[in-house]
């Protein structure tokens, strides 16, 4: 159990994908059948070429309706015959190139890449550049849907190396609705601070309730804590 999530931990996989030659109608049907909002377009080696989303499908129909000069209602309810008459392929519909990310990347990197490229999802690739999954905004937020038991395991994974180090054997970790409670006694006040700080690095926690007690005060006399602040890096 790792402390922090990588893209591989939250991505959707296996992924339903299509080849560039797949027909528009087939892509639309596939997305309806599988109830998905986007499908990557990949070559025969599963290298991503682009992505077709519901937005792409709707944009295409809206463009056609606008071209015909239809009323507002028909921008939404395009004529079936028109759709068939102008049917094209996934390769023509897709938004390309696909914005990708590696499976071992941090969630923060995935969020930044989505923001920079203004996309809602990224195609996840292995080191060879082959598609292994798709990660969406919703997936990035899924760390907050983790059950308490899983959060507790991650907190323990974060604390255990340090617990052994500070010879504290009485620390108990409980998680309730994403709120992490730390109880017990540790040798030094600095240990209590470090353990709380480590617990905070776990993804998906709501708040830390640090009830750790310490036997010896080892930081009170330090002037560093009283400094008004330091300039940014």
């Amino acid at each position: 159990m790792t402390v922090q999530h990588s893209v591989a931990d939250v991505m959707s996989h296996p992924v339903i994908s299509v080849g560039p030659g797949a027909a528009f109608r087939r892509v639309a049907e596939l997305m309806r059948e599988k109830d998905i909002s986007a499908t990557p377009v990949v070559d025969e080696d599963r290298r991503p070429l682009g992505i077709v989303s519901e937005d792409d499908l709707l944009a295409r129909e809206r463009t056609q309706a606008t071209r015909r000069g239809d009323a507002w209602a028909e921008r939404w309810w395009a004529d079936a015959d028109q759709v068939r008459a102008t049917a094209s392929t996934a390769g023509g519909l897709m938004t390309a190139p696909a914005i990708t990310i590696t499976a071992d990347a941090s969630l923060a990197l995935a969020a930044r890449r989505m923001h920079d490229a203004q996309v809602k999802r990224l195609v996840v690739v292995d080191t060879e550049g082959r598609m292994v999954g798709v990660v969406s905004r919703r997936d990035l937020l899924s760390v907050y849907a983790a059950p308490d038991a899983e959060i507790r395991m991650r907190v323990l994974a974060a604390l255990v190396p340090r617990l052994a180090w500070c010879e504290a054997s009485t620390v108990t970790v409980s998680v309730d609705g994403g709120v992490v409670h730390l109880d017990g006694e540790v040798p030094y006040r600095s240990d209590a601070m470090v353990l709380e700080a480590l617990a905070r690095t776990v993804d998906g926690i709501v708040e830390i309730d640090n009830r750790l007690e310490w036997a010896s005060e080892d930081v009170a006399a330090l002037s560093i804590l009283e400094a008004p602040g330091v300039p940014a890096a």
Partner: protein, 332 residues
């Protein structure tokens, strides 16, 4: 902390906005204090507003489910009993704010800091055509529906339009599509008939992880943000909740030196050089103890917005291979 039943919650009629009843809040095990097993909860399909001084301020929300059997407060907050929710509402944990003296760090972002405003809104009488036009013009997926007093009475989303009026065109067969077209020619549906009501809302002071939990648990893409009186102040979407990941390099650098290094590790920040570029952190300098190198890397990974850490620091004293932790190394 002990679970308390003294928290009084006002139950609000979603249409008139009037307080129709009061409730003491969830039992310690999270159940409704008034519903018998399997019975519908009395506040279902109403608005809820915890009174001030309960630690739940800003948690005004509205309950959509009409068949709730559990206390919706524990459902929404994911906690059992109010003690947990009270802890959530505080922005600093006891140890960090009080005895350990690390006030104000780490910064815990609230909904108010990331929400989108102003918000495109509609009235209950806004016609279908106008709603579609607004959503297209502003490229938005949902519009809150307000009463005359700017209180949120519902929300109309793309999903509502599609679900209540039609399936998206590419999901229809040719015959269905033609039928739908005819059916809609003369139709003049208004927001009141299209909206999901009452809307699930959230308070501006709610912490982002809490908002994300709520959104995930309810499978919602966005939540109207309302003040204690139920008045709209903004709207928060999934993309807004990802904003903490997008913090500037300056903010990240400040958190690392003033937060992690100084307040958490109690090390003089002047001994650490932290370069931040697009969230990627590079560390240089010398620490006294070898054990602190790994700890610093771990802690920096937990700072919002950090993409990766490249720790090139060196150490003076190898405390990892000196057997037990030496007492003299603890006292700095």
């Amino acid at each position: 902390m002990t679970a308390t039943a003294t928290c009084e919650i006002a139950i609000i009629d979603p249409v008139s906005g009037e307080v129709v009843d009061h409730c003491s809040g969830p039992l310690p095990d999270g159940r409704c204090p008034r519903a018998q097993d399997g019975e519908r909860v009395p506040c279902a399909a109403h608005g809820l507003a915890p009174k001030s001084g309960t630690g739940l301020e800003g948690w005004t929300f509205q309950i959509v489910d009409r068949d709730l059997e559990e206390c919706p407060i524990s459902v929404l907050t994911g906690t059992t009993g109010l003690s947990g929710a009270g802890g959530v509402a505080s922005t600093e944990s006891p140890a960090m704010s009080g005895q350990n003296g690390a006030r104000g760090f780490p910064h815990r972002s609230t909904v108010a800091e990331v929400m989108t405003r102003p918000v495109v809104t509609i009235a209950v009488t806004t016609p279908y055509k106008e709603i579609v036009g607004l959503m297209t013009d502003y490229d938005i997926g949902a519009v809150p529906v307000l009463d005359g007093d700017r209180r949120v009475v519902g929300i109309v989303s793309e999903a509502d339009l599609l679900e209540k009026t039609a399936t998206p065109e590419h999901r229809l067969g040719p015959f269905e599509r033609r039928a739908r077209q005819r059916e809609h020619k003369g139709e003049a549906a208004i927001a009141a008939e299209l909206m999901s009501a009452p809307a699930v809302t959230i308070g501006p002071e709610t912490l982002i992880p809490m908002a994300a939990r709520m959104m995930q648990a309810r499978r919602l893409k966005r939540l109207p943000v309302v003040d204690a009186g139920g008045h709209l102040v903004g709207i928060v979407s999934r993309v807004d909740l990802l904003k903490p990941f997008l913090r500037s390099d300056e903010e990240i650098g400040r958190d690392i030196l003033d937060g992690v290094v100084r307040r958490w590790m109690v090390i003089d920040p002047a001994t650490v050089e932290a370069g931040v570029h697009d969230g990627q952190v590079t560390l240089a300098g010398t620490l006294e103890r070898r054990s602190d190198l790994d700890l610093l890397t771990r802690l920096i990974h937990g700072v919002d917005g950090v993409v990766g850490v490249d720790n090139r620091m060196t150490y003076v004293f190898d405390d990892l291979h000196s057997g037990r932790r030496p007492a003299e190394a603890r006292v700095r």
